[in-house]
């Protein structure tokens, strides 16, 4: 190969690494302030004050938490299966965070614009269940194991409903590429898919909450039965990696909902120099919704959770898919 082509390869590689680092850094910052926002909003809804000691209005609280978690002693219980115990949090984090690379943040920026972006995000969320199952098994503890089993059953069940609800979007857009899905939405009369696909949107949001193991579906980490669920035995940095993965998962799922149902980066009018403005507004609204749900709803019982998934969400999503297909054929 010639030198010039080598230079271009290396240059592109470095550019890509920098872009990835920027996106990951912004994602981490969002995760940090999502924890702060969650604590503040829930405190407000429960008539408390929430964190207000570190920095003005407690704004530096996430960093204080981070330093505390980093400074703690990293305990490894004696009975654990070490290789699995160590890799499980990493699998969780990688599978949750990689999804960010596929989301088109605005019309000209997406880290990896692949043709099957939507399928790839589904694949990543399918793989993320390994982190939960393996941490439960590797911990060699009853509570963790039960939490892991519950989590895997839950994730597998709700993935079906989620995929089916996204399939109707794919049918309408005629593409699996996330950028093409947004562009197809902009060509429809309503500009967003939430109006014709409101059923799919509701199913998607419910199953996304279940995928991220958030209240009211946080059975895997149900405090009053399982102490903390699959990560009881984890401490310090490894514990915080699970937390990071959970919040990354929330962000990726919300971003996916914005991309597939709410019109992505498009808004009622253009904001000069801030092309991702509307994307972020919609993302923050959905994240607020997540937190709102957590503060409002009580936890489901396990059989109710499975019943909701298999007997309500999957049939509804299937029927919606069928109706969408029929409309697509007629129109």
């Amino acid at each position: 190969m010639e030198w010039s082509s080598w230079y271009s390869i290396i240059f592109n590689f470095i550019l890509m690494v920098i872009a990835c680092l920027v996106v990951a850094g912004i994602g981490l910052l969002h995760v940090a302030y999502l924890t702060y926002a969650e604590r503040k909003i829930i405190a407000r809804m429960q008539q408390r004050l929430g964190p207000n000691r570190v920095g003005p209005r407690g704004l530096l609280q996430p960093f204080a938490d981070m330093i505390k978690l980093l400074g703690k002693e990293d305990l490894t219980p004696s009975g654990v299966d070490k290789p699995i115990f160590w890799t499980a949090p990493l699998i969780s984090l990688v599978c949750a965070g990689t999804g960010l690379a596929l989301i088109p943040l605005w019309s000209k920026f997406v880290l990896s614009n692949i043709n099957v972006g939507l399928l790839f995000i589904l694949a990543l969320s399918a793989l993320s269940s390994y982190g939960v199952i393996l941490s439960g098994w590797g911990s060699n503890s009853r509570y963790a194991f039960l939490g892991g089993l519950r989590a895997s059953a839950q994730v597998i069940s709700y993935e079906i409903a989620m995929s089916l609800s996204l399939l109707s979007v794919v049918l309408m857009a005629g593409s699996l590429n996330l950028q093409d899905i947004v562009k197809a939405q902009l060509n429809t009369p309503y500009k967003i898919y939430i109006i014709p696909q409101i059923v799919a949107f509701v199913v998607f949001i419910i199953s996304a909450i279940a995928e991220c193991n958030r209240t009211p579906f946080d059975l895997p980490e149900c405090e009053n039965e399982l102490v903390a669920g699959y990560f009881v035995e984890y401490a310090a940095m490894k514990f915080s990696i699970f937390y990071l993965a959970e919040y990354f998962g929330m962000i990726v799922m919300s971003a996916l909902a914005v991309t597939c149902f709410l019109g992505g980066w498009a808004g009622p009018f253009e904001i000069p120099y801030v092309p991702f403005f509307w994307f972020l507004v919609k993302l923050y609204l959905l994240l607020f919704f997540y937190i709102w749900v957590r503060a409002t709803l009580p936890r489901y019982r396990y059989d109710q959770l499975m019943g909701l998934g298999w007997k309500v969400l999957i049939p509804v999503a299937l029927a919606n898919l069928f109706v969408t297909a029929v409309f697509k054929l007629i129109l």
Partner: protein, 174 residues
């Protein structure tokens, strides 16, 4: 050596090593994990062959669903006795016969195996410049292979009916 070939050899070596380790591993959970590594690398082989759709499907179906079910099975059945069993055949005569037979087939097909060389870009019967991979697969599936596709659907439906029937019987008895 080109990049493609380097990546292919990496993927191939990891696949072979993880499969061998999976066969010889005593811990069933490790076996499933090694198979997971193998399947993920297999998905990337499909990616290097230019088939992004199959990569995603491989990850979703095999890594995301089938292997999770395997893990469930490993968790739910008691494998204490099986993990203590010998993985090698102790009797020399029997193992020697098996060795001879497998060597015979290996040597018989050695010429074919040596002649096989990875070609880049891979041979694909359709034009990826014109339409995406997904489009071509869907077109072939719903035109040339429609009958097979429908038969597979019916078989899966029968399996679902079977499961429902089994559960109904359990409920009536219990």
């Amino acid at each position: 050596m080109s990049w493609d070939l380097l990546i292919f050899y990496y993927l191939a070596i990891v696949m072979i090593v993880s499969t061998v380790l999976a066969v010889f591993s005593r811990n069933p959970v490790y076996t499933v994990l090694l198979v997971l590594i193998m399947i993920v690398h297999q998905a990337f082989v499909l990616l290097t062959l230019g088939s992004d759709f199959l990569t995603a499907v491989q990850l979703i179906v095999y890594a995301g669903a089938v292997l999770v079910l395997f893990l469930f099975v490993v968790y739910l059945i008691n494998l204490r006795k099986e993990t203590q069993l010998n993985i090698f055949i102790k009797r020399f005569s029997l193992s020697f016969i098996i060795f001879l037979v497998s060597m015979f087939f290996l040597l018989k097909n050695l010429g074919v195996l040596v002649a096989l060389k990875p070609t880049f870009p891979a041979y694909l019967p359709f034009d990826l410049e014109k339409n995406s991979n997904t489009w071509w697969i869907a077109t072939y599936l719903f035109t040339n292979y429609l009958l097979q596709f429908e038969i597979l659907g019916v078989i899966l439906l029968v399996a679902i009916f079977g499961v429902v029937f089994l559960i109904r019987k359990v409920r009536e008895v219990g």
